[in-house]
């Protein structure tokens, strides 16, 4: 194995491939950092370029893009409070406040380092225990997926800072918005009003870009002209050494990072859900387990650690079923699958045997890209901070233009561009009404998963609901969901302040 890996590194270290990977990571970081452009888009747009390359070069480039883009999302999430990709939504919750308190560099440093560790951790899992893990993923069917979706949906309650009613409403509304389009399982059109454009429903990216980026511009319009300083908070690079955080802080975050890495890897392995979900779940669990959960959302580096470790751990997670079973774990790996196929390579259980050298070249490319990502982001840190010297009234309109490009790029139609305006308005109304946006996004992502798998599960068990409880994994998750709800109610009742609130509000 060591020998194969050595060969893999040998292949990757050729000038041609190294150059491609450097470009790939850099372009990936840009795609990740710019709201509206995502990892999926980076890989999709570059896939055709790899047609003319050999499989080693082509796949190395795609892998580099994947890693760069997954990590790059943290930059705008922290600096601008706009997640660059759906994988970095939870990074905003604590990265944004840290930035406002002048700890932007520290937040970025933490995000970069734990992105790196998360990725390396998942690549190690991919290299050493892939076949065993892949077998576990096979056990997950509709019943299990439904239970996981329900469990994750109940976590919304934790994110409902302020009014619980509004948080739950936002979640249910997100779920409701996701029901627009062709219904899962049964081919009928729902809530489309005969408009063919609505058949596919709303794209996740337009919802996110609208709720965060466009809403941010409207907020700026509301207050920016009267604000005394239009520039974002100045961040001093003086007195900042290395990544801007201490070894003690690093050690304190290790348990959190370990947990989040496992969550990211676990969710990444399951086909159909990926980093977009795992960063939120890891964040919530990290908050629940923290000694000081009340500081989450107000600038705790633990929040950044959880989100960034989890989303990057999803990379190895998503690659795992692809390389061992030939099954893509998310949208990016679905495109990577195409990258294999055009070179006549079919990923599957025999890939490690029939294409050993290529497999190890990919491993080497993954590791190299991760290291490149760390270096580029470390040295780029000073560059990213410079972004803040651009006044917001210049920066945000340019970001809006890029969001328009990104939305249009989803499937070359203006409908998606209109969607970002629609969700921008909704996001702005949410802010005005004191309604949190995060539950809406979670409802929107997990809703379809819950519904589709409910319907599929019922089909498999001939309409019998009991099958969800007789299935051990599903029953465990549903049980956890129930425990979680009870816990939420009990802890709400226990704290006196919340008690008053609870009675008043419900």
């Amino acid at each position: 194995m060591l020998e194969l890996l050595q060969q893999g590194f040998g292949a990757v270290f050729s000038l041609h491939i190294m150059l491609l990977m450097v470009i790939g990571v850099a372009v990936g970081i840009v795609f990740g950092a710019v709201p509206g452009l995502s990892a999926t888009m980076a890989v999709a747009l570059c896939l055709p370029l790899t047609f003319t390359m050999g499989p080693q070069a082509g796949l190395s480039l795609l892998v580099a893009l994947f890693i760069g883009a997954t990590s790059g999302g943290l930059i705008s999430a922290i600096l601008l409070k706009i997640p660059g990709t759906p994988s970095s939504i939870a990074t905003v919750f604590d990265g944004g406040p840290l930035m406002e308190q002048g700890h932007g560099v520290k937040a970025l440093g933490v995000g970069i380092v734990f992105s790196f560790l998360g990725t390396i951790f998942s690549i190690a899992a991919l290299m050493f225990i892939a076949p065993q893990l892949a077998k576990v993923a096979l056990r997950f069917g509709p019943h299990e997926y439904f239970a996981i979706a329900v469990f994750s949906l109940t976590l919304i309650a934790t994110l409902s800072a302020g009014s619980m009613v509004k948080g739950l409403f936002a979640g249910a509304l997100g779920f409701a918005v996701s029901t627009v389009g062709i219904a899962p399982v049964e081919a009928i059109r729902r809530f489309t009003f005969g408009v063919a454009e609505l058949n596919g429903g709303f794209a996740m990216l337009t919802v996110m870009v609208g709720m965060f980026a466009v809403a941010e511009i409207i907020k700026l319009a509301e207050s920016g002209r009267h604000a005394h300083q239009s520039k974002a908070q100045a961040v001093s690079m003086k007195n900042i050494k290395g990544f801007g955080f201490s070894l003690k802080e690093f050690r304190e975050q290790l348990p959190n990072a370990g947990r989040s890495g496992l969550i990211g890897l676990g969710i990444g392995i399951l086909p159909g859900i990926g980093a977009g979900t795992s960063n939120l779940v890891a964040y919530i669990i990290s908050k629940k387990r923290a000694k000081n959960p009340e500081t989450y959302g107000k600038g705790n580096i633990g929040g950044v650690v959880a989100s960034e470790t989890a989303n990057n751990a999803g990379i190895g997670g998503a690659m795992l079923p692809l390389m061992t079973l030939g099954i893509p774990g998310d949208t990016v790996t679905a495109i990577l699958l195409g990258g294999f196929l055009i070179h006549g390579i079919q990923p599957g259980p025999l890939l490690f045997i029939s294409q050993g050298p290529l497999v190890y070249t990919i491993f080497a490319a993954l590791i190299m890209s991760t290291v490149l990502m760390l270096f580029m982001e470390f040295y780029g840190l000073r560059l990213f901070i410079k972004l803040l010297d651009v006044p917001k009234h210049i920066l945000l309109p340019i970001i809006l233009v890029l969001c328009v490009v990104g939305a249009f790029g989803l499937s070359s139609r203006l409908f998606d561009v209109w969607s970002i305006l629609l969700f921008g308005l909704l996001g702005y109304l949410f802010v005005k009404a004191g309604m949190p946006a995060a539950p809406f996004i979670i409802g929107f992502i997990l809703g379809p998963m819950a519904e589709t798998n409910l319907r599929r599960g019922l089909m498999l068990s001939d309409g019998n609901f009991g099958a969800f409880l007789s299935n051990p994994i599903a029953a465990a998750f549903l049980g956890l969901a129930l425990v979680f709800i009870l816990w939420q109610v009990v802890s709400a009742l226990r704290s006196k302040k919340s008690l008053v609130n609870e009675i008043l509000r419900t």
């Binding site: 409070k81 739950l168 409701a176 029901t179 009267h226 249009f408 802010v431 409910l454």
Partner: protein, 162 residues
């Protein structure tokens, strides 16, 4: 705190309104025996309506000031909300998207950026027309060429012949 109460009431009404709208649309879905495509929307409508009602009830019971949750406290920025700028910004984005196809991405982006920069310029800043125009043109050109040439993303060219 009459204003807070009034605002919360308004939010409650909006919530209930949206819920009822969704409920109404759900009722019109075609049904068949067993669990069908209207099952989950029905559950959701019920939940949304219930939460809307709870919000209204909480406003009624709310006799004292409730500390409002503001995700980033920006709503309270000194100087109050500048509705005029918000409306102008929305109109600009609306116009930008509406004319994107007929006029084309390159031209519309320049116009939008230039105007949006001016609209958003803080009151204590000078509007520098030349710099604004330059940034707008450069951004538009780079974005258009990069995506069209390197990534084959056919952004609408509109009036331009290429």
């Amino acid at each position: 705190m009459a204003t807070t109460k009034k605002k919360e009431l308004l939010i409650g009404i909006a919530m209930l309104g949206a819920s009822l709208g969704y409920l109404l649309m759900t009722i019109q879905l075609p049904r068949h025996n067993g669990i069908d495509a209207a099952f989950v929307p029905s559950l959701l409508s019920a939940m949304l309506c219930l939460l809307g009602v709870l919000q209204l009830l909480s406003v009624r019971n709310c006799t004292q000031a409730v500390t409002e949750y503001h995700p980033d406290g920006e709503a309270e920025v000194a100087g109050g909300s500048d509705i005029k700028t918000v409306v102008k910004t929305l109109a600009l984005i609306l116009g930008y998207i509406a004319l994107l196809n007929p006029i084309g991405f390159p031209i519309m982006t320049v116009i939008y950026l230039y105007l949006q920069f001016i609209v958003l310029t803080p009151l204590d800043h000078r509007v520098n027309h030349l710099v604004y125009a330059l940034i707008a043109v450069v951004t538009s050109a780079i974005t258009y060429l990069l995506f069209r040439e390197a990534f084959d993303l056919m952004l609408p060219s509109g009036l331009l012949p290429f």
